[in-house]
Symmetry: C2
Subunit: 780 residues, 2 copies
């Protein structure tokens, strides 16, 4: 079957000039979709014995140093991400090493920055008199594994243990002897950020009811957060394995003993169950959540965790992770390197969140994923990784993106709490879709996806230029770039007027890259006029290229005003944000971002030698921002200039110096696994140029890496003479034949094979003659 | 207090050129808001005995002939609008004379067109074997009063009686003797429209639970409808006064006897309670609804209707209506005329829906109204009427509009199910706000309202050019008009591409009128630059004025393409829709729509005589569409040309020929009371030019009409020699002094007074010398 698909797409892609009838082609695509939809692709049901890989997962890697990863338990792409919330103003994960623990809530995102999202349905175990306004406790003896977390709450002398299934959090609390041991459920709790940031969550309302002596139901309704989304509602059903001796609720901090219910009047409501406990007595608790209803949350418990066997659920979570991690087997390397690697791989499967069956916005037979947070990050690494190790998952994620377009008008660039937003740069789902198409992922309604991409590229997103689509697209179309500079506000409030969008530099660059994704896709679908149009647009980055000099580099992306004049007061080192020329970056970094036409970029920089020298300045002078997505591809650009040795050298430096197995082990926000997936790819020895059918060979960490591509097929990278003193690749073979390119295509490996790399202590001539493809060299 | 406000606003308005410091002015406005918010304006708590006016209300007026009014009970602006749903494909009210009754649901809108909205939480009484797929019954012996409805369900021999409070429907069913008398609750029912219309509602999910032998809770979640909104959820709690002998649920038409719950999996779920009844035994039922939660719905019952006294609740509903109707007292006229008049007045207080405390989208201390359906209709008549008879209500409605802007970025032009949409023409909330400002309504954050209006006027609404704001605003700003004509689609799906917006004719006209509203408001707030800009924009209608001839009329609004050329293939009689040049109208009608500058329009038409002749052609040849809002002001335009006699004559014709006291008594969609309010105004003898401080004197129906402006103040219109043979006003007095203008301002009457009109059988010279104000004659 895979052969047939590959052949079909190769036909579609290669024989572009053949004017096959549009409808016939459409029917063929539909046929492939229908056939493939009925053929499962059981990547993880292989019969070979699974290696024990979860032992390498350390969920504490990246929790500090702004990594913002989640230490708490979940299953891959799980709806419940149960984790520890600390302090009053929260980090994005809720967790902060060394601060008091407020409790354990069931919804989180991992690795994000800006205003925090979620942190709903918080459970805490306490002893003594209840104080709804202050129940946090210091924690000690923390442990975290894939699917398990425990901590000792020293204020109360309670051990808390957590595990999870897809939609249910399972808690086990071991109490001391106490007349008043209580479980509290805070339906008004959520992760808080500074209001002045403008990205803080706000309570809309909450409700909680004691349904019986051991069942509590309710919901939290919250709006805001980084994506500035409208209200979302998390319903819950919580069951305990023991009946309480007393109970009550609270509203806005005031206790109401024996109250059975706190109705939603926009308040912060909570409830508690009090038990008399003997020493080491446990109280177990299952918290089902749902975005549909409390009854659905209760049903989720009954389906996923019918028993009270904590260890069994923990084992199931571990097994699920272990299966997922077995998609890549590494040999060699240190235990520390394996811990970094498998924890990174673990981090790539936390988001987006699979909410199929839990969509309160519309009814559909398509998969539903939320927490694309953000595609601006993940399109570079996570999505290309999933195409290799979980193609069915990537297919479902893309189907969900398309279904969001069908019902809401735009695919998201980011989405959370069931609402699109925000767009940091371009509409990078264009790149995700084009890449899946180019790499032959079947089962996707590509025609509708194309409509969604054209919508991104042509329809202004309106009032909020940050919510979806491409802000300033009219200007981009009319001028060939997104202009910069704020119009002088007529009255003072207009300083925040959304029509005064900027990010003219980074948006223009990303829109050009997105346009090339559309162009390739248009060609594949036979829309030749669109191909010509979008190929032309894909060169728009050059409209902002000004021949200025800095540190011996010539030519930079420079802000241009709507009237065609360059901005005068500007620095190539100016790091920007939402309202500046370059989002989260500066011109030094972003002037390398022409991923689809590096060849033209090299020409603009003055040729290969000047380009290599410029890259050297970039890395040597520390202008490269390792914690920042816009530079993800930069170390690989040497390959395009015939210096793969320098790519290998730089990548190895970054892998060694900026990733570690400690709590600060990630160089910055993990961004839904984007930073981790960067590690995974490069540690395997290659890196994707997202949205194109090309992988660049970089710097392997392990002597052997095997990717389980499908039930029958594997791709293995074997490295000879791997040693610290041998940082360079000096020769390569693919399936036994000499391979003199420092890159390969998806087609080169997707049917299985082996890439052998020979390392050496000096750069040789390997990989310098045939650069990877660039837009401007393609012949059509 | 009213004096102070009036003085304050007069100061603000008149001394426009005084450069008072902005912040000082802002503080003054805030001060007025704070003071007024604490002073109630008890328009309906006057101590004078109330007249019995509900006896004139006949809720069946307008249910047929596309009037689409609601026959079922509600209280003014009530959340529950309980009414009868008939058939499978529904009218917009759910009701259709002479068709089988499916049941009684709790949410409706009144008078609308297009795809139906709501119809949630349907209750029906049946006997015998249950069939969830077909339980409709013919109805007979229908009665409807303000706050009461009854019908005999002949299939089951059950009498159904309904009344309502704000959030609760109260049902009384009188059963025959039967072993199986059942109440069924269909949580999956909603009003259906043809899917091909693209405005049909779709089920997202539903849930229902038997909580006890006499309490059922659940919800319906639906999306779509005319405004193409996302999902809304109506929660309910239903209690019966008797415990059932058996019960069950159904899912997608399949009965599940004794099932306690049907959980939401996107299905259509229902439940039933079965009783053994003796002859004439009643079962009463209270159905609380909420947009927050089932518990809130239950609480709504407990607060609003704690008892089981049907007659008491019915009386309360009647009394509430009677108080509201007592804001206008008429003397003279026939019983039929009073029935038309008071039913029309009744129809003006059904929407928007007061959902304060029931907003699931955000938490706020501001009022919350939904079902602005649509402002495109109501700004012309309903909102100006509320300013006179319920100024506090109008203030709250406007505060709600502003709060929607604060949280969602745009004020709605229409909104339903908590989601903005759709905009038929301009952003006519601009007119509502400007009018309230000009007429001195206090307690409104006018500064934020101004921001919202500037947003409408400058920020393109994005992907959906129909949802909010002004579609094509960039083109309107750049070209001076909204261009017409569809770009040729590149691929076939683009024929529905939202960038190909049209309505270029009607949008340009409405945007110009909206701009004048902004200009007046800007002047009042001291934004003189904005005033100049928007006054200039308010002349943009002239950019589409082409000197073509038709039926002796010269000059018509004509579609122009983006390149500045006129569309060639076009007819002035072409009635359009969403995708045409004139929304819901044609050029003959819309070429009269320059409400803010009739003087310039008259000049463009060739002077007063040509204008009068053109109006004569319009009415005589039947080009006037009486059932259509764009022509609401047209009969009054004669006044601007010095022929008030013709206005009086035409209005009388329309009142007599197109309104009656029967089921088809309205000429078309009542549109949330817009059509009824047109009657109310003209029957009183005057009509507002919305958004301006002017009332035009038209054609009184009654010998005396008194408006209760406030607790102490009334405005009375007395008509002498009113008779069929005396269709013309020949002289007038205001407060005893000769009044030779066929118009007056809000300031002329708002402190109370009496307008005396003398009728005659021939047109005289009254009212011809001083036309009402037009933009182009104002001196600033």
């Amino acid at each position: 079957m895979a052969e047939f698909i590959k052949t079909y797409y190769n036909l579609t892609w290669k024989f572009l000039t053949i004017q096959t009838n549009f409808l016939v082609r459409r029917l063929l695509i539909m046929l492939v979709i229908v056939i493939m939809a009925s053929a499962s692709h059981p990547a993880f049901s292989q019969q070979v014995p699974l290696a024990d890989l979860t032992k390498y997962v350390n969920p504490f890697i990246g929790v500090d140093n702004n990594g913002n990863t989640l230490p708490g338990p979940c299953v891959p792409f799980g709806m419940v991400k149960l984790s520890t919330d600390c302090g009053k103003l929260n980090t994005n994960s809720g967790y902060k090493t060394g601060t008091d623990i407020k409790g354990f809530s069931h919804t989180h995102v991992s690795g994000t920055g800006g205003g925090a999202k979620y942190g709903n349905v918080l459970v805490m175990a306490v002893t003594g008199e209840l104080n709804p306004a202050n129940y946090a406790s210091p924690g000690s003896d923390e442990q975290a594994k894939a699917g398990y977390y425990s901590v000792f709450l020293s204020r109360y002398q309670v051990k808390a243990e957590l595990t999870a299934s897809h939609s249910v959090g399972f808690h086990r609390y071991t109490f001391p002897a106490s007349e008043k041991s209580s479980i509290i459920i805070d339906a008004g709790s959520f992760l808080s950020s500074l209001k002045s940031l403008g990205e803080n969550q706000e309570l809309v309302g909450s409700e909680i009811s004691h349904c019986s002596a051991n069942r509590i139901e309710g919901y939290t309704r919250v709006r805001g957060g980084w994506n500035k989304g409208g209200a979302y509602t998390v319903y819950f059903c919580i069951e305990t394995d023991k009946s309480a001796s007393s109970f009550g609720t609270w509203t806005d901090g005031v206790l109401n003993p024996e109250s059975e219910q706190a109705v939603d009047h926009g308040n912060s409501n909570g409830a508690y169950l009090t038990f008399q406990t003997t020493s080491n007595q446990t109280v177990q608790l299952k918290a089902g959540i749902s975005f549909i209803s409390c009854s659905k949350a209760r049903e989720n418990i009954n389906i996923e965790i019918p028993s009270w066997d904590f260890e069994k659920v923990r084992q199931q979570a571990n097994d699920t992770w272990n299966k997922a991690l077995n998609s890549i087997i590494v040999k060699g390397g240190t235990e520390g390197q394996k811990s970094i690697f498998y924890t990174a791989l673990y981090h790539t499967m936390i988001q987006p969140t699979d909410r199929t069956g839990e969509n309160p916005c519309w009814k559909s037979d398509e998969p539903y994923y939320d927490d694309y947070y953000a595609i601006w990050d993940t399109y570079r690494t996570v999505n290309p990784l999933l195409i290799l190790i979980q193609p069915d998952r990537e297919r479902d994620i893309i189907r969900s993106l398309i279904d969001i377009y069908r019902h809401e008008g735009y695919m998201p660039d980011a989405r959370s709490g069931n609402i699109n937003g925000r767009t940091q740069g371009g509409s990078n789902c264009d790149i995700i879709v084009a890449e899946a198409f180019l790499k032959g992922i079947s089962g996707i309604d590509y025609k509708t996806a194309y409509q969604a991409m054209i919508t991104n590229a042509t329809i202004p997103p309106g009032g909020s230029q940050e919510q979806e689509g491409r802000g300033g697209i009219n200007e981009y179309i009319n001028l060939g770039y997104v202009p910069t500079g704020f119009e002088p506000p007529e009255v003072e409030w207009q300083s925040s007027n959304p029509k005064n969008y900027d990010r003219g530099g980074s948006r223009t660059l990303e829109y050009a890259a997105n346009d090339w994704a559309i162009a390739q896709f248009a060609k594949g679908l036979g829309y030749n006029d669109d191909f010509d149009n979008y190929k032309k647009r894909a060169s728009n980055w050059a409209n902002l290229w000004q021949r200025v000099n800095d540190h011996d580099a010539t030519g930079f992306i420079w802000p241009k005003k709507a009237n065609g004049t360059w901005l005068e007061d500007f620095s190539v080192f100016k790091n920007g944000g939402w309202a500046n020329v370059f989002y989260e970056s500066n011109s030094w970094e972003y002037s390398f971002y022409v991923p689809h036409d590096v060849r033209s970029l090299i020409d603009s920089c003055g040729g290969k030698q000047a380009f290599v020298s410029r890259l050297d300045t970039f890395f040597t002078n520390g202008y490269f921002q390792v914690n920042n997505e816009p530079g993800f591809l930069s170390p690989c650009l040497y390959i395009y200039a015939g210096r793969p040795d320098k790519t290998t050298f730089r990548i190895k430096q970054i892998l060694n110096n900026h990733y570690s197995s400690g709590r600060g082990g990630l160089p910055g926000n993990d961004d839904s696994g984007a930073m981790s997936a960067w590690y995974v790819f490069n540690a395997m020895g290659f890196f994707p140029n997202a949205g194109q059918d090309v992988y660049l060979i970089t710097s392997p960490v392990f002597e052997e890496t095997t990717i389980q591509l499908s039930l029958e097929k594997t791709f293995t990278i074997k490295v000879k003479d791997l040693a610290t003193e041998n940082p360079y690749i000096i020769s390569a073979k693919l399936d036994g034949k000499t391979w003199d390119k420092a890159w390969f295509t998806h087609g080169d490996i997707i049917n299985g094979g082996t890439l052998e790399l020979l390392m050496g202590n000096k750069p040789g001539s390997w990989g310098i003659t045939t650069p990877p493809p660039s837009m401007s060299q393609f012949k059509y």
